[in-house]
């Protein structure tokens, strides 16, 4: 599917979907409450068939956090970016690791570095940092007086 066809299809299938313009790929903004259902349909709709989650990350905007998911279909070769805005104080979102298995590790990484809680994740614990580590190192306001030299 071309980007235009993909956008058309998404508009029909996901009512109220917001699109961001200007990127190489179609970028869809989804509410955290609807994300889980949207993700399931992206994978299961045979015309979309997003079977590959090739990037899962998070952005700290200081006012809020944004989860960013990159999907592609190995059958149709079309790409989609899904963004979900989260509350920075209590960031939580449903896991998608039962839909795309690869998300299990990536969600652990985002939890480790940004402190996003993934609901229903089977094994949500520190990945790179030690178990007793305090704080979320990739947040913009992270302070570590022992290891960090501030500039």
């Amino acid at each position: 599917m071309t980007n235009e066809e993909l956008k058309q299809s998404l508009t029909e299938n996901f009512s109220g979907a917001q699109f961001e313009e200007g990127g190489e790929w179609i970028c869809m903004a989804v509410e955290a409450a609807q994300f889980r259902e949207t993700a399931g349909r992206l994978r299961s709709f045979s015309s979309l068939d997003f079977d590959y989650l090739f990037c899962l990350t998070c952005i700290d905007w200081k006012t809020h956090l944004t989860m960013v998911y990159h999907f592609t279909s190995t059958k149709y070769r079309h790409m989609l970016v899904v963004k979900v805005k989260l509350d920075r104080n209590v960031p939580s979102i449903d896991t998608v690791c039962d839909i795309w298995r690869t998300a299990e590790f990536h969600e652990r990484e985002v939890y480790d570095l940004f402190g996003v809680k993934f609901n229903n994740h089977p094994d949500l614990r520190r990945l790179f940092m030690t178990d007793e580590w305090n704080g979320w190192p990739l947040r913009k306001d992270y302070e570590d007086p022992v290891n960090m030299i501030k500039l």
Binding site: F128, P137, Y142, D144, N147, M148, I149, K150, L151
Partner: protein, 183 residues
């Protein structure tokens, strides 16, 4: 000693005294051992980031560090003489680096390759994870500037290490008089 006699053993630490039917070679055991060591340095296979790519290039045919006696890179610290810290050392890697160094048999030498291994480099400020210089973990003999250094710089560092070893540099005596080094 006449010039023509010196040329017979250009790098060997000693003097050849010609006698009818042969000659007598005069040196000291320490100098001969240092000379032998300096020409047979086996590096450990150790690379933690992009400097390792330059190190591989230096080992590959184009730069070919075996021309200078670094023939065999060993995948075990038990058989290695020199560890080239090629890349960033993070807090989680530091104990591994220490263990590798401890497992190497004496005499052992360390080269800090590039900005990260020297001082933390581009990760000096505002990072929670990077060791600000590998010399916080193990003693370093030769530092190389660059990010990453070119293969020529690594070769220069290896040759500098050889000269240092020939001058008697060792773990207990890391700094030696620079004026003694061969020009």
């Amino acid at each position: 000693m006449p010039e023509d006699q010196k040329k017979e053993a250009p790098n060997f630490p000693g003097q050849v005294h010609h006698t009818p039917g042969g000659g007598i070679l005069v040196s000291s055991i320490d100098d001969v051992i240092s000379w032998a060591r300096s020409n047979s340095l086996w590096p450990l296979v150790f690379g933690t980031s992009c400097c390792a790519i330059e190190m591989m290039s230096t080992a590959a045919p184009k730069y070919d560090w075996s021309r200078f006696g670094f023939e065999v890179a060993r995948a075990t610290p038990r058989q290695a003489d020199v560890i080239i810290i090629a890349g960033t050392i993070v807090n989680k890697m530091a104990p591994v680096l220490k263990r590798l160094y401890d497992q190497m048999a004496d005499p052992k030498y360390v080269i800090a390759m590039g900005a990260c291994a020297t001082s933390g480099g581009p990760f000096f400020y505002n990072t929670y994870s990077v060791v600000k210089g590998a010399d916080h973990v193990i003693p370093v003999d030769v530092y190389i500037a660059g990010c990453p250094p070119r293969p020529e710089a690594l070769l220069h560092a290896l040759i500098t290490l050889q000269e240092k070893i020939r001058q008697g540099g060792k773990r207990e005596q890391i700094k030696i008089d620079a004026s003694k080094l061969e020009k």
